[in-house]
Structure formats: C-alpha cells, structure tokens
C-alpha cells in the first residue's frame, strides 16, 4: 500500500483520539466510582440496578413499618402485663373478702378499692401508642372506653405490611379483650363486667356474690394471658421479619454495588495500561514523522 504523509498523520490523530477517549472513560469511572454513569453505558444492567433500587426502597419502607408495629405491640404487651397485675390484685381482694371473718365496713372499703381497680383497668384500655388508642380498632383517634366501661371502638384488626403481600396485625381489639366481645360477653369473659359484679357484691356485703366472682376473675386472667401470648408471638414474628429484612437489605445493597460500581483495581490497571499505550504512540509517531527523503538530499 502506498503511504502518504497525510495518511500517517491522520492515522496517528485517530489513534490518539481513540486512546484519549478510552482514558477519559476510565477516568470517569475512577472519579465517580461507578461503572454505569448513564443508562447507555450498559442498558441491561442499568435496568437491573433500577429494579434493585426499587426493591431496596421497598425494604427500607417495610423496615419502618416493622418499627411502627413493634412500638404498638410492645406497648400492648406491657399494658396487658399491667392489666394482669390489676386482675391479680382484684382476685386477692375477692379471695380475702369472700372470707366471712371480714365485716360489712371492710367490704365497703374493699368496694372502693375494687372501684379503683376497675377504673385503672378502663384507663389502661385507653392507652396510646404514637398518638393512637391501641385498643380502639379502627376508631383509634378517640378513647375506646367510656368512664363506665362502655366500649365505643371497633373490633377490627389494624394490619401493616411487613414484606411484599405479607401482613401482621399490630393491635388487639379492646372489646374482645376487656368486654368479651361486642355486645359484652358474647364471645368471651366480660372483664369489666366481672369487676362491676365484684364492686356490687362488695357494696351489698354479699359474701357468696363476692366468692362467685373469683371464677370470673380467673377466666378473665386466662383470657388476658392468652391475648398476651398472641401479642408476644406477633412481636417475635416482627423481630424475625426485621432480621430477614436486614439480610435482604444487605443482599440488595451488595447486588446494586456489584452491578453498578466500578472495579477500582481493574479500572486503575486499565488506566495505567492505556497511558502507557498513549505514550508509546506519541513516541513512535514523533520518531516516524522525522523520517523523510529530504534529510538525505543536498
């Protein structure tokens, strides 16, 4: 092939351009730390990265949801423990007052105590978590229990999403817990009703009436304990979900990084190779363009 000076210089220019472009690409990767700086760098991986980022954003949201759920359930759990203590005191009082050694005035005092216990129970039923009444069901913005123990909430389950399509209920319906269903006593023990009976029996100095509430208090306690076990189980479930979610988040973060991050070792070694090639091209072209017949003509 016949080679002219113009061809040589055009060839050198195009090679130097190409090499500078390569170096520029590698420098962009090195400075941004990303292998994919624009979707066109690798459209398929760019799409996967976006999908993974979407999953990651969802996982972060599920994690927030689980925190909300944990707050509700642990508040419910500790409230139930306190309720249990209240019932224990009520049972002690009932057991004591069922004994005929106590007189009418003792029972009057005990009636005042029992009223205190019932009121405490109702006030516990109006406990809140994050501004919401935890036993109110869907009617979570007003106190679910009136002063006389009337339940105005709903028995609905409030669900949160803890993973795609997977829901956990974060409340325990107050009507079921303290009134044995709606209407009271329709599906379980009416705890407030039992306490009211105790107060009435004590006020009336009715010893047999007092002793007959003891079995009601027992079944109230077992109703509360069963509820507490249920809530505890859900707390455990949330804890497990949170753990799973953490490893999912780790995995997703790594997967995103693997797809879009530049491999520094590779980039830097490529960069140094390219620079060497660039220098070699410069050196060779400088030598080559010195060669001319003119040097040998007088």
């Amino acid at each position: 092939m016949r080679i002219t000076e113009n061809m040589t210089s055009a060839m050198v220019q195009s090679m130097l351009n190409q090499q500078q472009e390569n170096i520029n690409n590698l420098e962009q990767q090195a400075s941004s730390g990303l292998r994919i700086n624009e979707p066109s760098d690798d459209p398929a991986s760019a799409q996967q990265v976006l999908n993974l980022q979407g999953l990651l954003a969802a996982a972060n949201q599920y994690s927030t949801n689980i925190q909300t759920g944990t707050t509700w359930l642990s508040q419910t759990d500790s409230t139930m423990a306190t309720m249990n203590n209240v019932l224990t005191s009520a049972k002690e009082l009932a057991t004591q007052m069922a004994n005929s050694t106590y007189g009418a005035s003792d029972r009057q005092n005990a009636a005042a105590q029992a009223t205190q216990l019932r009121d405490e129970m109702i006030s516990l039923g109006n406990n809140q978590a994050a501004g919401q009444y935890i036993f109110g069901g869907y009617a979570g913005s007003q106190p679910p229990f009136a002063a006389d123990g009337t339940f105005s909430g709903t028995d609905d389950q409030v669900n949160i999403e803890v993973d795609q399509g997977s829901y956990v209920s974060i409340n325990y319906p107050g009507g079921t817990l303290l009134r044995g269903g709606i209407p009271p006593g329709s599906s379980g023990t009416d705890v407030i009703g039992v306490l009211n009976n105790l107060i009435t029996a004590l006020t009336n100095n009715d010893v047999s009436g007092v002793s007959s509430t003891i079995s009601g208090l027992d079944s109230s306690m077992s109703q509360l304990q069963a509820a507490q076990v249920d809530v505890g189980a859900r707390e455990n479930r949330l804890q497990n979900d949170a753990n799973t979610l953490t490893s999912t988040q780790d995995y997703l973060t790594q997967a995103v990084s693997a797809k879009q991050d530049a491999d520094y070792t590779q980039v830097l070694s490529d960069l140094s190779t390219q620079q060497t090639v660039y220098q070699a091209t410069l050196a060779v072209s400088a030598k080559f363009s010195q060669l001319s017949l003119l040097d040998y003509m007088q």
Binding site: M1, R2, I3, T4, E5, N6, M7, A10, M11, S14, N37, E38, P39, S40, D41, D42, P43, A44, A46, Q47, V49, L50, N51, Q53, G54, A57, A58, N60, Q61, Y62, T64, N65, T68, A130, G131, Q132, G136, G137, Y138, A139, G140, S141, G153, T154, D156, V158, N159, I160, E161, Q164, G165, Y167, V256, Q260, S292, L293, L294, M297
Partner: protein, 477 residues
C-alpha cells in the same frame, strides 16, 4: 535530419520537464490540502517523422495532466458519510432523551414513584396523621411534576429537531447550488483533464462528500464532466447546471411540524418528500435522522409515559373511589381522570394533575367504620407491587418505567455503535483514498530529482546542438 531539429527536440524536452516540475511543485504545495488529488503529468513521445526513409522522433509532448481519482471509493465514502451523519444526529438527540430519564438511580420519576407508594405505607402506619396525609399529597405532586417535565422535555426534543430542519435544508440548498455552478464551469472548461478543471473537480468532490453527510445521495458522472446527483430513492437534486431546492411547509396534521418539500431542477412544482426521507433506507444523513427523531424515535418514550401516567391515575382513582376519606365520605378521584381509554390516554402525561386538594380527602379507610382504618391505604400502597398489563407486556409500574430508562440507554447505545462503526469505515476509506490520491512527499522529491535531471540533460542537448552548429558555421570561414 538537420541540426536545428536537435534544438526542436531539446525545446520540447525543456518545456515538458518544466511542466512536470511545475506539477510536482503543485503537488508538494498541496501536500496537506484537504481533498486535493495528486496530479500526474502524462508525457508521450512526439510524432515520428521520416528522415531519409528512417523514422526519427520529434521530441516529447505533455499529453495530459491527470488527477488520480477513484470513483468507487468516493461513492463508498459518500454512503459512509450518510450513515455517520445520521447516527451522529440520532446520538445527540437521543442523549438528551436519556438525560431526561435521569442518569442516576436515586432521583427521577422511578425513585419518586417509589417514594409515592412508600408515603401510602407511612399513611397506613398512621391513617389519621395529618403529616402522613400531607406527605402522600406532596409526593404525588412530585410524581405529577415529573410526568409533566418529562413529557414537555420529550416534546421539546421533537420540536428542536423540527426547528433544526431550517438550518439543514438551507445548508443543503446552498451546496446543491454550488455543485450546479461547478458543473457549469467544468463543462465550459471543456477538457476535463486540464489543470484548472482538476481543481474544480476536487472542490466538487469535496462538496459531494459534505452533502452526503447531510442527506443520503448517489451521484453519477456524465460524459461532459458534469455530475448528476439524486436521492437514493430517485428524485433528482442536481442535473447539469440546475439544482433542486428543499423547502419547508408546516403540516397541521402533524402537530404543525414541517413537511420537507422538494422542487426538482427546472421545475416550480414542490413535491412532499418527507416520507421518502424518513422511510426505510432513507433514514440517513442529518436530514433523514432529524426527521426520524422528530416523527418516530422519541414517540415510543412519550407513548410509554402516557401509558404509565394513565395506568397510575386509573388504578389509584379506582381504589380511592372504593374507600372513605377522613370525614367519612366516599373517596373522589385522586388524580385528574384520564379522558381516553382507562389505560392509555395520548398526551395524558402532560395533563396529569392532582384532583384532590386536601389531605383529608385521601381515602385511607376501606370501611366507613373509623378513621383508624388503613385497609385502603394498604391496597393503594400495594399497587407498587401489582403486575399490570402495560406497554404490551406485564410489569409493575416502576418496572415499566425502568424498562423505559433502559430503552433510552439502548437507543443511545445503538446510535453510538452506528456512529463509531461508520466513523471507522470513513477513516478506512479516507486512508484508501489517501493511498491512491494523496501526495507522498518522498515520491514527489524523487520525481523532482528525475525531472530536474531530465531538464539539465535537455539543456545539455541544446548546448551540444549549439556546438555542432558552430562547427558547421566554422567550415565556411
């Protein structure tokens, strides 16, 4: 044969070598001129005369000065120029489409859609919270503005392409006019091989190469030295000394975009060549690619966006209407309702807006049972994971958007590949043309020496002739 014949022969030799030296000089002078084709002097022996029955030559004469030229390579180069012009235009325009879709995975419509659905999850965690309700509204507003910005950005790319047609066609007209006038000069010069015509031929080749980057053309050399330029599909652009003209005419049927009209040489009746230029195979050169960007390449992204917006609005509105807001009323439309088909209203992405104005109007409740009911908020939040039939396939809303982003990347990538490949075939062809037609200084220096020595020898011939003549004259005294 007389002694004076020697002078005659010497004189032809001096003249021929002088011409050759001048052409060598011309070549050296133009060694780095773009588009210059090397010229060579073709000499031939003078006519033979009979001297006492013996044939003797009568010196040398310059038969022609020719231009080293390869029409096949020039045609190939034109076609590579057309591809390159087309792909470069596509690449530039599609880059701006890709830019609109966002180069980062943590911002843009996709990320904002995720935030929108996450805001519904937050609302489900606290259905009565006014902050959570406001957050849903705010993130929805962001999604709405994203749609509007993307849509107007894409429309802008189309109208920019439309505007740039003015510059391109006037540039093309200018060049067609110049080619026609060069045709006239070349045919007047008569001898296509003369030195003056060679320079004109080089300029015309240059113009043809430049023109081919802007519009795909084919050219045919005629016997009178003129060149006929046509579109690959046949319409004539230059015929002899007259040129066709491109003009633009707004087409109300195509959003007021321009139709490209062509008035053929020696005619006054413009024809619509838009569909020819952007049709298959014509989608080349800056002109064809600009039309393609305007009419077909950006379109799928706009359609996808409209479909995404319509689906989002329809799905959210449907669920919203099955729920109850904070005041116990049935939910009203969340987004302005798409007017066309439920899943695709053309142009909807530019019109989508919020229909509700207050956070209280968000229907988080599924039953009219209490404000703590979050079931409808959960259902709407779950739209994020719902696979729907969209864009001819099944995908989630976010997944569909991601595939649009990937499509914009693929479009840029394939234009880039095309541009790189056509650029390397241009380089390759230019090297081949350079190899055939370019000036090699070493070669010219060698020629310089050859012609110089021949000139010296011819001068010597005349000296010898003079001496011979003197010897003859000496006989007289």
């Amino acid at each position: 044969m007389s002694v004076s014949d020697i002078f005659q022969i010497g004189a032809t030799a001096l003249s021929a070598q002088k011409t050759a030296l001048a052409i060598t000089g011309e070549n050296i002078a133009n060694a780095s001129t773009t588009g210059y084709s090397k010229q060579t002097v073709n000499m031939e022996a003078g006519s033979t005369i009979l001297d006492n029955g013996i044939p003797v030559g009568s010196g040398v004469q310059v038969e022609s000065i020719s231009r080293v030229y390869n029409d096949f390579l020039q045609q190939q180069l034109m076609s590579a120029n057309s591809s390159n012009g087309g792909y470069n235009t596509q690449q530039t325009q599609l880059q701006s489409v890709q830019q609109l879709f966002g180069t980062s995975s943590t911002s843009g419509l996709g990320a904002d859609l995720n935030s929108f659905f996450n805001a519904w999850q937050d609302l489900a965690n606290n259905p009565t919270g006014s902050a959570e309700r406001q957050e849903v509204l705010t993130s929805a507003q962001t999604v709405v503005s994203d749609f509007q910005q993307l849509s107007s950005g894409l429309t802008q790319v189309q109208s920019n392409a439309n505007q740039s047609l003015q510059g391109i066609t006037s540039d093309i007209n200018d060049q067609l006019q110049q080619i026609a006038s060069l045709n006239a000069q070349i045919s007047q010069t008569g001898s296509q091989q003369g030195g003056a015509a060679n320079a004109l031929l080089d300029s015309r080749d240059q113009l043809l190469q430049k023109l081919s980057g802007e519009v795909a053309i084919t050219s045919r050399l005629n016997s009178n030295g003129t060149v006929t330029v046509t579109l690959p599909q046949g319409a004539t652009l230059v015929d002899g000394n007259s040129a066709a003209t491109f003009s633009l005419q707004a087409d109300s049927a195509n959003s007021g975009f321009y139709d490209v009209m062509l008035t053929p040489p020696n005619s006054t009746a413009p024809q619509d060549v838009t569909s020819i230029l952007e049709g298959s195979g014509g989608n080349q050169g800056e002109l064809g690619a600009t039309l393609a960007v305007r009419d077909s390449l950006v379109e799928p992204f706009l359609n996808g966006l409209d479909e995404l917006a319509s689906n989002l609005a329809t799905q959210v509105n449907n669920l919203q209407s099955t729920g109850y807001d904070l005041n116990g009323n049935t939910g009203t439309d969340f987004f302005t309702s798409p007017s066309g088909s439920a899943t695709d209203t053309p142009g909807y992405s530019s019109q989508i807006n919020l229909n509700i104005t207050s956070g209280d109007q968000i229907a988080a409740a599924g039953k009219n049972d209490g404000t703590g009911d979050n079931t409808n908020a959960l259902s709407i939040a779950d739209l994020a994971n719902a696979s729907i039939s969209i864009g001819g396939g099944t995908s989630t809303l976010d997944g569909f958007y991601n595939s649009l982003v990937a499509q914009s990347g693929t479009a840029v990538q394939s234009a880039q590949t095309g541009a790189t490949q056509s650029q390397s075939s241009i380089t390759q062809l230019q090297q081949m043309i350079g190899s055939a037609s370019g000036v090699s200084l070493d070669e010219e220096l060698t020629n310089l020496t050859t012609y110089q020595l021949a000139y010296q020898a011819a001068a010597k011939l005349i000296t010898v002739g003079t001496e011979m003549m003197q010897s003859v004259l000496g006989l007289i005294t």
